[in-house]
Amino acid sequence: MNSKKNGLAPISALKYLFKKPHTVRYPKEDLEVFSIKGISPNYRGFHTNDLEKCIGCGNCARVCPASAIEMVEYDDVEPANKFANTMRPTIDYGRCCFCGQCVDVCPTSSLQMSRDFIHSFHPDSSLSPEEEPESVVKDFIWRPDQKHADNPGYLRPEGDLFGKVIDFDRNEPRKEAPSERKLSFAKFVHTYSKEEAEKEATRCLGCGACVEACPNQLHIPQYIAAISKGDPEESLAWIYKRNPLPLICGEVCTHQCEEACVVGIQGEPLAIKWLKAYSSENVLKYQDVVEEKKMEPNGKKLVAVGAGPASLSFGYYAKLLGYDVTIYEAEDKPGGAMMWGIPKYRLPKEELMKDINAILDLGIKLKTNVKIGKDISFDKLMKDYDAVFVGTGNSKPMTLRIVGEDLPGVMQGLTFMKLVNEEKTPELKGKRVVVVGGGNVAMDVARSSVRLGADVTVVYRRRIVDMPAALEEIEEAQEEGVKFVETGVPLQIYGEKRTEEFEYAIASLVPDPKGGRPRPVVNDKSPHMKIKADYVVAAIGQHPNLDFLPEDMQKKIGFDGKHVPVDDYGRTNIDGLFFGGDLSNRRQDIISAIGAGLRAAKGVDLYLASQK
C-alpha cells in the first residue's frame, strides 16, 4: 500500500459527492443482495410450527438455551399420531435468542424459522406499572403456527437425514447370517459391545415420548442416559424401578417404545430393547442394584398363582413393600410362557433364569408342581393369605375349527413350542410344516421348525403388513427361508392316518368400516389352494384357563372366557383377589404383564392399608 503522507490525498474522497449513495432506504427500499428480495433466504426469524405435524415431544423446549420455549397443552389441535400429545411449543420472544437450536433438534421438522422478524410492542400507557410487565410479556409470548409459513427461513429439510444434530441412523446389533443361524438354537443376536451401546445410546434425545408408549412406563430416557454415561449399573437401577425382568425384556420385548421414538419419525428409532439387554447383560450381579431397596417385612402374606412375568413382577414389588410372597407354579420350572413358549434362540434359558433367580433370591417362596384347584383349593388360598394374585395367563389354545383338525400331525402353537423347549419334538428334518397364524407364536413355531430342518409355510388370513408379529421377526423368518402365504383362510386338512394336505382359500380383503385391520372375506369365487403338509401347527391365539376358580367366583369377577375385567390396580369385584397379566391385559405381552404385576402390588398395598 501507499502510505506516504499526503495532505491532498483525502480530497479524492470528495468524488462521492457526485455518486449515488449506497444506502438502503428502508422502508422505501429493501435489501437486494440475495437471490430473493429482502433478507437472506435462510434467516433465523420468528418460528413457524406445523401444528398438525408437531408431536409435542418437547425437545425444542429442552434444548433452548434461553429457556424460552414452554410446552403448553392446547384444545384446538389433534395429536399427530397415537403416541403424540396435544402439547405445542409456545415461545417467549422475551427470551428467544434466535439461535435455531430448536429447529435443528425438531425430529419432525415441524418447527422451522421464517424470514419475518419485525415485531414491536408499545405498552398501553393507561396500565399501571404493576400490570405493565405482564402485558409486555404476554405480547411477546405466542404459539408459533403457520402464520409466517409462506416466508420460510432457517429450517431442516424433511429429507435431510444427515440432520442438523439428530443422528437418524440406527446401529443394529450384530446378527449371525441367516444361513448360519438357522442351523442351531443358539442365540444369534450379539448384544452391543460397550462402544456400540454408548454410540446407540447417544442418539437418544431424552424426550420421553417412549415412556408413554411403554405399557409399563419404564424410565427409558434415564436408563439410556446412564448407558451413554458408561454406567450400566445405574441404567439397570433405573430399569429395576419398574421392571424386574430386564434381560428378558431386553431380548424379547415387543418394544412399542421404539414405535413411539421420535427419532423414528424421519429416521430409524433407537434400539431401546437392545440397550436394555446391554445394560442387564453387563451387570453380572443384579443384587447390587436390587437389594438396597428392600423394605422391612410387615408380616402380611400374599400369594401369586402362576410363575409367569406378572406374578414374578407382583412378587418382586410386593416383596419390596415388605410382604411375604409365595408363588405357586403348576409346572416344574418358573417362568410360565417365557419358559415354555419362547424358543431358546430368542431367549436362552440361562438368561431367563438369571432374571428369575434375582427375584427369587429376595426371599420369595416358589412352590412348583402345585396345581391350584387340584392340589390346593382356591378357597383355601383366599383364606390363608391376605391377598391373592392370579397371573396364570392364557393357557388354553384356540383351535382352527375346521375339518381334519383332529388328525395326528395337527398341533397347537404353544404345545408345539413346549415340545421344542423340552427338545421332545418329532423328527422334522425334511418335513413340511404349515403354520397357521401371524402372531409372535406363529413366528416362533415357524422359525423353530426351520431350525429343526423342516420346510415351513406360514398361512395367514390377512397380508404380511397386518401381522401382529413384530416386523423384525417376520423379516428374520423370511431371511431364514420361511414361506409366507397371505390372505390364506384355512379350509380343511386332508389325510388318511395323519396329515397330508392342507387346503386354504385366498380371501379378498374388505376394509373395516371401523378403521381397524381389513377383514378377510371368503366367497364362492375365492380360489382354493392345496399344499402338502406333514404337520399343521395352529398358532392363532390362546384363551385363559380359569378352571381352578370356582364357578360362582368366575361369574362374580365377570370372566367372559377371554378376559377378566380389572381396574388400574388389578382389583376385581372380590376383595383381596387381584388379577394381572394376559388374563386381564388388553395387550398380551411380557411388558404389559410386568406392568400389571407392579400395579397389582401397589393395589394390594392400598387394599391392605384400607383393611386396617
Binding site: I69, E70, L321
Partner: protein, 167 residues
Amino acid sequence: MLKYVKTLNSMGLKARPLGDWEFEVLTPKERVAETLSYLKGSGFETFIHLMCVDWIDDGEFELVYNVESYGEAIQALVKTRIPREKPSMMTMMNLWGLCQVYEREIHEFFGIKFEGNPNLEQFFLENWMDLPPLRKDFDTKEFSEELFGFKEDESHGIKAPERIEYK
C-alpha cells in the same frame, strides 16, 4: 517442549505435554512461585491468564497459571490446588504485574485471598454480598429469581406420563 517437561520432572514436579503447543505442570501451592520464576527465566515471558476451577467435591480450588514463550511457541499451564476452606494464595505480582487484575478478579469470583496483593476490591460486581458467584455452590438461577423477582418452572411443562409407582 520435552526438555522443559524433563527439567520440571527432575525438579520433582509433575509435568506432561497436553497438545502440540501446551504442557501442564502440577505443583504444590508452595512451589508455584519457584516454578513460575523458573519458567519466566527460561523464556516464558508472557503471562496469558490465571484462572480458577472450583472442585467442590474434592474440596479444592485449582489455580491455573498460563504462561507462554514467544521464542519457542509453547505454552505452559502451571496448576496448583489449594483447599477450599479459607482459601489463600500468595500473589505473583512480583513476577508479572499483570497478575494484579487476575488475582483481583479471582478474589471477587471465588473468594480466594491473595497475600501481598494491595488491591482486592470489588471489580466487576458492585455491592456484592453473596457467595462469590463462580463458586459451584452459588446458585445463579435462585439468585436471579430472588433478586429480579421471577419464577420459572424448569420442567417447561413437559408432562411425564402418569405412572403408578409401587411405592
